[in-house]
Amino acid sequence: MEPSELKRSKDSPNLDESTRRSSFPDEVLERVLSLLKSHRDRSSVSLVCKDWYNAERWSRTHVFIGNCYSVSPEIVARRFPKIRSVTLKGKPRFSDFNLVPENWGADIHAWLVVFAAKYPFLEELRLKRMAISDESLEFLAVSFPNFKALSLLSCDGFSTNGLAAIATHCKNLTELDIQENGIDDKGGSWLSCFPESFTSLEVLNFANLSSDINFDALERLVGRCKSMRVLKLNRSVSLEQLQRLLVNAPQLAELGTGSFSEELTFRQCVELESALSNCKNMYTLSGLWDAKGIYLPALYPVCTHLTFLNLSYAALRSDELAKLLAHCPRLKRLWVLDTVEDKGLEAVGMNCPLLEELRVFPADLFDEEIIHGVTEAGFVAVSFGCPRLHYVLYFCCQMTNAAVATIVQNCPDFTHFRLCIMNPGQPDHITNEPMDEAFGAVVKTCTKLQRLSVSGRLTDLTFEYIGRYAKNLETLSVAFAGSSDWGMQCVMGGCSKLRKLEIRDCPFGNAALLSGLEKYESMRSLWMSACNVTMNGCRLLAREMPRLNVEVMKEDGSDDSQADKVYVYRSIAGPRRDAPPSVLTL
């Protein structure tokens, strides 16, 4: 009998009774439930009855916590004794855009201390928008002998010294994934900290860092880690060095190149192309920093089996993109910069019929010459060529209602529709009308819509549409939109599946805030900043709903009665004790 079952027999004196009552022995139930991976399924299972609740909690090995303050580490450890993998998300999403004060919280350390005591065999930690210090990373590195995977996305507070600690001490590390963090890059020596005997690495992503690393150390590391399948380099790795790495790692499935712009001799080009053509398993390509068009043909052999191409740091022109895409028929996900312009997007529509996801990022946010970029024409062109499109993130300088209506007619299966017309409050540029009908068309046509980000000039009508039609909507982002409280009230009243609502710079006040009184406990969180909510409104909300944490972030010099930034979330851990002085919990 497994140790877990022995422990259970000691702990549950009712074992005989429960086996008599339930139709399965618990061991079987646990074995079956251990196959369940989705945390939502597991939540449902745990609600069936007490036996299933217990079986589920004993069989769960991965816990996903969408808001680190919704629960405490002690509560988690008490309920789930056998966790080996933790995913934690911390700060509100708008912290990515500098709207959350620096020392807001979401520090991982308290969690690590509990985990070290309760989950000494912890293997995986995936953090998003958490604050993590070098001390915490060192603590992590030495406290968990079996530690395998660390993934940090949009986190801050640490430096490359912390990475050095991980590399030095985690003998069983398989994954080190450092993505888009606020990391203090003190140099590349951390990479050399992997011992020569270390061979287990499968995923290495340091594209986020800018410092030079010791290439010899990297080459040896890649050479001896024969199971490596994901390698994402930083800008300091040259094309020539890339070729040397690839020769030793043809098994790579995901590659992030380094800099793609140095001068290569003809022979070097041929060698690079040859190395790439040996990578028969490669399906994801990214990096391509400073990509120069003339070297892109080296990628063609890989392009034929690519499903994800991330060009969001490579400022390609439309003709360069078109030539590249002609070789990428199997592409399902494409990220580009808007330097490709509408013409480049036409090429997307013409060459990538299997495309499911498109993200177009703005290249030059500070350039006055905003005549570049993409418009509605590019998006429409993609929609005609890619009927399977269901995820879009589109930063553009202009849009029309008619275009969006056409787009959703061509692609009715959108699950994620994130449209950012970059000039706040900009109307349809042809008719000068608000963009209400555009988003109306989206919610009416795309019944599977889960995530929506709106932009442009919007009246309450947009929100009437959303409340009435977006019945599967879970995440909604709103900025510079709406006319009155009514808009938000429509959303709170109509979107039954809403989980995350983030609003900035909208004329929604206390009436709007309080219209969601019943709803907030079924949601993960609500963010409202630069709206018309007052402290009194927040206090009322806090009073009526004691199981919600209502936090207000005050700005210097603002009116005392205004609630500048409000963050509301459900929690079974009560008000948090680590809030900085600028955050008031009501």
Binding site: A315, L365, E368, E369, M422, H429, I430, N532
Partner: protein, 308 residues
């Protein structure tokens, strides 16, 4: 339900902003003055536009201070054609360029105007100077422009992660500039530089070598970009066959709503007309006909330059 007054995010409603697109709101006939595109000094005022500026009082005082050095510079230059009659300088919304002010919300395009106006409620859009020095004027007066208005520098907008912003700022993707720079560096033959105009859907290129003076250049630019101003008039009920002569064109362009600026070798944006013509052609990399509301920041910098 009556249509609510649409306020742009910074709080000014369309009716209050004297941009030419809004002339369609006027029911009582054509108001050609309002549709005029006038190229001239920023900061100088157009009498008929005073009325519209009640809501931007705080902005005016800044501007009058900034006017100080500007006309001196241009008069000194002598050849400068785009001289000012009336100005759009105090209209609209703008922030000082390179102000380096991080007094969140206290700069011009911040809470002052916003707090009074947005839908009648106290609204403070968080408009703050970001660390990146350039700041563009907000032009959220609901432009139905051909080309989009410039992006306002609002905190956290557009919603891009800092990592991406910082990476692209540190290594700006300047594909096309490669061409422009290379050609501008050619010592002999021709000196093509790009010319852009705010509101125009495409750029032009001019060979600076074929002009001998600022006057020649400005005439040529007026002719080149007149089609856009005519186009705008056309969309507001003035047909192009309506007796518009060339002199009328020049009158339109001789207003004060636009100024001519250029980017020099150091990457700084300068007002055209300060330096001798030859020095100008040596250092000019590209030209931009910008709205005078945005040029205020340039004026400020000009005043701060030691030798001006």
């Amino acid at each position: 339900m009556s249509k609510p007054i649409e306020h742009d995010y910074i709080g000014l409603s369309e009716q209050q902003l004297p941009s030419m697109e809004k002339s369609s709101d006027k029911k009582d006939g054509l108001h050609l003055k309002d549709t005029e595109l006038r190229l001239g000094l920023p900061g100088s005022e157009s009498p008929e536009r005073e009325d519209h500026d009640q809501n931007v009082l705080s902005l005016k005082s800044f501007v009058s201070g900034a006017k100080r050095g500007f006309s001196d510079a241009l008069d000194g230059g002598g050849n400068w054609v785009f001289s000012g009659g009336s100005g759009g300088g105090t209209e609209g919304l703008f922030s000082p360029r390179r102000g380096g002010k991080n007094n969140g919300g206290k700069d011009l395009s911040g809470s002052d105007s916003g707090s009074v106006l947005k839908d009648g409620a106290a609204q403070k859009p968080s408009v703050v100077q970001e660390k990146k020095p350039q700041v563009a004027a907000t032009s959220s007066h609901g432009n139905g422009n051909i080309a989009p208005a410039s992006k306002a520098q609002v905190v956290g907008w557009p919603p891009i992660r800092s990592f991406r912003k910082n990476t692209l700022a540190a290594h700006p993707p300047k594909n096309d500039d490669g061409d422009g720079n290379a050609e501008a560096k050619l010592g002999s033959g021709c000196l093509y530089v790009k010319v852009s105009m705010d509101g125009a859907p495409y750029l032009r290129k001019v060979d600076l070598k074929i002009y001998g003076s600022y006057k020649d250049l400005s005439s040529a630019l007026e002719k080149m970009f007149s089609c856009f101003t005519i186009g705008q008039c056309g969309s507001h009920g003035v047909s192009s066959g309506d007796g518009l002569t060339e002199s009328r064109l020049i009158d339109l362009l001789h207003g004060s709503e636009y100024v001519l600026t250029y980017e020099d070798k150091d990457g700084d944006w300068m007002l055209v007309g300060d330096v001798p013509w030859e020095m100008f052609t040596d250092s000019c990399k590209r030209l931009r006909i910008m709205k005078s509301t945005e040029a205020i920041g340039l004026v400020t910098r000009q005043c701060l330059l030691p030798n001006k």
